[in-house]
C-alpha cells in the first residue's frame, strides 16, 4: 500500500507542471526584481549598476514617501472600517434577522464580485459635479449644501475611494464574520443571558472574545488586500488630483511603465512587499498575544 502512496515518478509527474509554472513565473521574477533594484535603466535601453542608490533615492523622494504614507493611511483606515462594518452586519444577521438573513446576506454580498472598473465608473457618476449633477450632489444641494467637486478635491477624493471600497466589500466581511459567529454555540449565549448579560455587554464580554480568531483572519485578509490596492484607485481617481491619491502600487506602475525606470520601479515594489510582510507579521504577533490573554 505504501508503495503506491510513495510512487516517486507519479509525484513528479503530478507536481511538475504546477511547480514549474509557479517557479518560473513567480519565484524567479521575485528574485530577479530584487536584482533590478541595484540597477538603473530598462530592458530596452540597457542597465548600469548603481548599488544601493535606488534605496537612497526612495527615501529622499517626497512623492514616494507620500505614496507610502497614503498606502498606510488607506490600508489602516479601510481595514478598521471593513472589519467594523462587517462585524456590525454579522451581528445584524445573527441576532436580529436570525434565520431570515439569507436574502439580505446574498444581496449585500453581490458588489463583492462586481468588476472594479464598472463600480468605479458608477461611483464617478454618483459623485459627479459637472457637467451633470450626480445623485450625491443633488441630495447635498437639496439639503442646502454647496455643489462639491468630490473627485477634484484631494481631501474628498480620498473619502470617495474609502466609501466606494466599503460599499464593495462590507457584504464580504459580513458573510466572513457571520460564518464565525454562527459557530458560537447557542447554549453559551443562553447561559450568558441567564447570567443577566444584556445586549452590548453580551456582545462585549461574550460574543467578541469568542469570535477573535475569525476577526484576526478578517483583519489579516483585509490589510493584505488594502496594502495592494490598485484597481479601485486607478479606475476611480487614477491617483489624482495630482498625486494626492497615489498608493505605492500605482507609483511603481508609473515609474516602471510610464517612465521606463525598471530599477527604481523594482525598488518601490520591493518596499511594498517588505511592508506587506512586516505588517502581517506585526498583526499576527499583537493579535495572538491579545487572544491568549482574553
Amino acid at each position: 500500500m505504501d508503495k503506491v502512496f510513495r510512487d516517486r515518478r507519479a509525484t513528479l509527474v503530478m507536481l511538475a507542471p504546477a511547480l514549474l509554472v509557479y517557479t518560473l513565473v513567480m519565484i524567479v521574477p521575485i528574485f530577479w526584481s530584487v536584482g533590478y533594484t541595484t540597477l538603473d535603466g530598462n530592458a530596452v535601453s540597457g542597465f548600469t549598476f548603481v548599488g544601493l542608490d535606488n534605496y537612497k533615492a526612495f527615501f529622499q523622494d517626497s512623492t514616494a514617501i507620500d505614496a507610502l504614507l497614503f498606502t498606510l493611511k488607506y490600508a489602516v483606515l479601510l481595514t478598521v472600517l471593513q472589519v467594523v462594518a462587517g462585524y456590525g452586519l454579522a451581528l445584524l444577521y445573527v441576532f436580529y434577522l436570525k434565520h431570515r438573513s439569507s436574502l439580505v446576506r446574498t444581496i449585500l454580498f453581490f458588489p463583492v464580485i462586481l468588476p472594479t472598473v464598472a463600480v468605479a465608473l458608477m461611483f464617478q457618476r454618483v459623485f459627479e459635479a459637472a457637467p451633470t449633477v450626480g445623485p450625491i450632489n443633488t441630495i447635498i444641494m437639496a439639503l442646502g449644501g454647496n455643489l462639491t467637486d468630490f473627485l477634484g478635491d484631494p481631501h474628498y477624493s480620498f473619502w470617495v475611494i474609502i466609501v466606494m471600497d466599503l460599499w464593495r466589500s462590507m457584504g464580504f466581511y459580513g458573510v466572513l464574520l457571520y460564518a464565525g459567529l454562527v459557530e458560537i454555540p447557542d447554549d453559551v449565549i443562553e447561559a450568558a443571558r441567564l447570567d443577566g448579560a444584556v445586549r452590548w455587554r453580551m456582545v462585549r464580554h461574550v460574543v467578541i472574545p469568542l469570535s477573535l480568531p475569525v476577526l484576526l483572519s478578517a483583519v489579516i485578509f483585509s490589510i493584505n488586500g488594502t496594502l495592494k490596492v490598485f484597481d479601485t484607485i486607478v479606475a476611480l481617481t487614477n491617483g489624482g488630483p495630482g498625486t494626492a491619491t497615489t498608493p505605492l502600487t500605482l507609483y511603481m506602475f508609473r515609474t516602471s511603465f510610464a517612465y521606463g525606470e525598471y530599477g527604481y520601479g523594482s525598488t518601490v515594489a520591493f518596499m511594498l512587499t517588505l511592508m506587506c510582510l512586516l505588517v502581517t507579521v506585526f498583526i499576527f504577533r499583537s493579535m495572538r498575544g491579545d487572544a491568549t490573554k482574553g
Partner: protein
Amino acid sequence: MTIVSRSWSARLRRLPGVLGVGFLLLLVVYPMLWILLGSFKQQDEFLSEPFWALPRSWSLTNYVSAFVDGGLGIYIRNSALVVFPSLLLILAFGVAAAFALEVLVWKGRSSVLVLFLAGIMVPTQMILLPLFAVYYRAGLTGSLWPLVITYTAIGMPLSVFMLATYMRAVPREVFEAAILDGASVYRIFWSVTIPLVRNAIFTVALVQFFFLWNDLLIALTFVSRSDLRTIQVGLLNFTGQYGSVDYGPMFAGISVSVFGTLALYAFLNKRVMAGLTAGAVKG
C-alpha cells in the same frame, strides 16, 4: 393587553430595524438600478433632467453604440479568450499538484505547500518587470499569451492550497480501499479523487474566474494593442474614446458588466459566497 395591541406595539418596536435594513439594501441596489435606467437615456436627458428621472423611451441604441462603436463585444471576446484557457490550466495543474502534495507521501511535501502559500502574500508588482522584459524579448507583447501565462501562475497558490485543504477532508481509508482493489496511482487520482472533490474543483474555478475576469493590473501591463484589450481595460478607456463623456453608451457598458455578473450570481450565489470567504480564511 389584548393580542392585537401587543402585536402592534411589537411591530412598532421593530420599525427602526426594518427601516435600517431597508436603507442598507437601498444603498447597495439603487446605484446599480440607476445605472440600468441611465443606459436607456439620451445625452440631453443626462444634461437637463434630474438624476431620478425615468428614461423617455426604452430604446437600445446605447447598447448598440457600446458594442459597435465602443468595441465592447471585442473586449468581452478577448477576456473570454484569456480567462477560460487560464482557468483550465489552473485547474488541471492545481488539482494534480494538490493530489501530489496531500494524498501522496514524500519528504518535503509540507515545505513545498508552504512555498506555494507564500505566493498569496507577494504583491503582483514584484513580478511585473522581469516578466515584461521576458515577454518583450520573446516577442509575445503583441498577443494574449502573456496574460494566459501570468494568470495561470498567479492562480496557482490559492488554488493549490484550497484544493489540498479539500483533499485533506477525504478519509484516508477511501484511498487505501482503492489500492486494495488494485488501483494504480493514476487511477486513484482520476477515478477516486477527482469525483470526490468535484464540488471543490467547481468552487475553486468560480473563485478564480472572478479574480481573472475582474483583473486590471496584469491586463493593463501586458496588453499593448487596443484590439487586444480585455473587458476591464476596455471599460476603463471607454471615457477617453468619445472625447467628452458620452453618458448613454458608458452607462450601457457598465450595465452589461454589472448585470452579466448578476446573471451568474443569481444561480450560483451560495457557491460564490462560500468559495470566496473560504479562500480568505485559509489565505
